[in-house]
Symmetry: C2
Subunit: 367 residues, 2 copies
């Protein structure tokens, strides 16, 4: 297993001192920033996440701020999802597509007010796309990366831990809503959201100088809750069907292929990039579809490339993420398959680096 070479270019985060003191064992790089992937080991981290509460350094979810009179107009240009009824305390998962309807990112948009938005991004320089569009189209809006680093609190005991640090106001935050809550001599936007199915919050830490203060406050308050440093967990996110941009979908895919059709419904009067391409695709139905896939046999290694899914030697799809699930006693995976092979129970062969395995298509993830 190769090491990672550190440099300024692979940015540290405001929480890196805490992450390294907690004994991080491996990193990935996400938006040119360090994202922890393993603390104890992936299975230990998984069981702990499902039983207790974890604090995750997800600073890599960099924010793109849209600020100015044309902010809402630009935000709607970016996505097929209808934002017109969105309120100033809401978060929306928004597919971002190009002029051909291909996925550029799948972020969460946070509406702060009509003239100010944050986009909490997946792994691509969405800042460049949004700035390029704004300048090319001559819009009156500033587009930049603010000093905001999300810290996630995830797991069944996250409500208890958050109440101890932010007070009982946290309970009033509904799913995918946010509220500004006091901390020390400042305040942070806190949303009920996060990249797990175990429940929890994301704290949008403004001003990196507060990073270790909020990190330490959470650990000090949560000792008897068995709080640990954690990170998005490969097994848990596959079980829950949480897609990863760059892994399970790329610029080669449309939102309809990714099961995101519900965010792309045609609405009268909406004007966004890629509208024509998506309308055409919706009329014809997409060629392929994201599916849950189970893989028989012993634990597979993580997928470093897309593994071909075949039937009678013909490739009909691929697996993009895979892991052994202790709770479901099978390898769980995410893949994309031709519509003709997407029904529940379809049996295929997956070509893993260790040889072919039997794979079964499922219409639902393990939730």
């Amino acid at each position: 297993m190769a090491h990672i070479s550190h440099s300024r270019r692979l940015r540290k985060t405001p929480f890196t001192p805490g992450v390294e003191a907690a004994g991080v064992k491996a990193y990935t790089v996400y938006n040119r920033m360090l994202l922890p992937t393993v603390f104890e080991d992936v299975e230990f981290d998984y069981h702990h996440l499902k039983s207790h509460v974890q604090v995750w350094d997800v600073s890599v979810e960099r924010q793109v701020e849209l600020n100015g009179p044309d902010a809402s107009r630009l935000m709607q240009m970016l996505t097929p999802r209808d934002l017109r009824k969105m309120q100033s305390d809401q978060c929306y998962y928004v597919p971002i597509v190009d002029d051909k309807g291909k996925m550029l990112n799948d972020p969460v948009a946070i509406k702060l007010c009509d003239t100010r938005w944050w986009i909490s991004i997946a792994d691509s320089d969405l800042l460049f796309w949004v700035k390029g569009l704004a300048i090319g189209a001559g819009l009156n809006v500033e587009v930049f990366e603010p000093d905001v680093s999300p810290l996630a609190v995830q797991g069944p005991k996250s409500d208890a831990l958050m109440e101890r640090v932010f007070g009982s106001d946290v309970h009033d935050i509904r799913f995918f809503r946010h509220k500004r809550l006091a901390f020390a001599d400042t305040s942070f936007i806190v949303a009920r959201s996060g990249y797990s199915k175990q429940g929890g919050y994301e704290i949008y830490v403004e001003d990196g100088r507060y990073g270790m203060a909020i990190w330490d406050a959470l650990f000090n308050a949560g000792e008897d809750l068995n709080v640990r440093a954690g990170c998005p967990n490969l097994i848990e996110r596959i079980e829950g069907g949480l897609l990863s941009y760059g892994n399970d979908m790329t610029m080669e895919n449309t939102p309809l292929e990714c099961g995101l059709g519900k965010f792309c419904k045609h609405a009268e009067g909406l004007d966004h990039i890629g509208q024509e391409a998506l309308t055409l695709e919706a009329a014809q139905a997409p060629e392929r579809q994201i599916r849950a896939i189970s893989i028989q046999g012993s634990a597979v290694s993580p997928a470093r490339t897309a593994w071909p899914l075949q039937v009678d030697g013909e490739t009909v799809g691929s697996v993009s993420s895979a892991a052994w699930s202790p709770d479901f006693n099978t390898n769980v995976a995410i893949g994309m398959v031709r519509m003709s092979h997407s029904n529940e129970g379809t049996e295929l062969t997956v070509e893993t680096p260790d040889g072919p395995r039997l794979a079964t298509v499922h219409e639902n993830f393990w939730i």
Copy 2:
């Protein structure tokens, strides 16, 4: 030292099988793709690069293709460098700036013809910026990432090795010019260029399926030249003053601060993004400047953050890259300092993670 977690998102390259068979020990991630950083060790790799010939997987220099009637117009919008006299076999180093004159990337532009360009990018999703601008401004040009992966051949014996694989035509290629040369049943654009000061070429391998064929051809032809797998070398690139986007300059910097003023000369009739901001800055002179810095004492560790440069407790700059140079018997570094402290011989204190060290500013790198 933490490991790197592999996934499909951190893309392998057409040469990864060769790189891993050669025993790569560490990777960085660059443009969401794996870039080797160490084979034997950084010092061994350095001495070998300066004495023999190395083959480098620099697929991470992804290409952005501009193709269509407005390609040349769009290319000129992107950069302050005057491209009007550029010929169809030339490569130009081009600063790319935003509307505020801040650096977004420092790629090499390769002109294939008036309606077709490649931009061989540093570490940021320039594709998103260029596509966004083109769509925002309604230009008639396709912008995409083609299946092209550069393979560099670097070192004093690179001419000899390249002649054996491509014939004596390679000698006719002048510095920063390119030529299409035959290989097997195809042909590749070959340029005299590369991210070292040891001389060499970059082969723009079109169609990843040829990756291992050209890799193997170079190794088979170069056995008696002591050819080895290599990679951009931290020590050698600092000695040579080769800047790294994300390390030595970021979106916080202007090209004038980075010593790239010669590519930003005002020219009548030129129309590019950031023109107004750069003209204003040129009239006032930039506030700070990239400089070579030597650091006294034993070998420093690689810089994971910018290390403050101070005088009498006041910060007047920072060091962004540093390494021990065996050939110059000192720590060599790249930093940015206030103009008031940029003269040859200025003595400063650098705050390294291991404590303060004496640092000296130099007007020239170690070449």
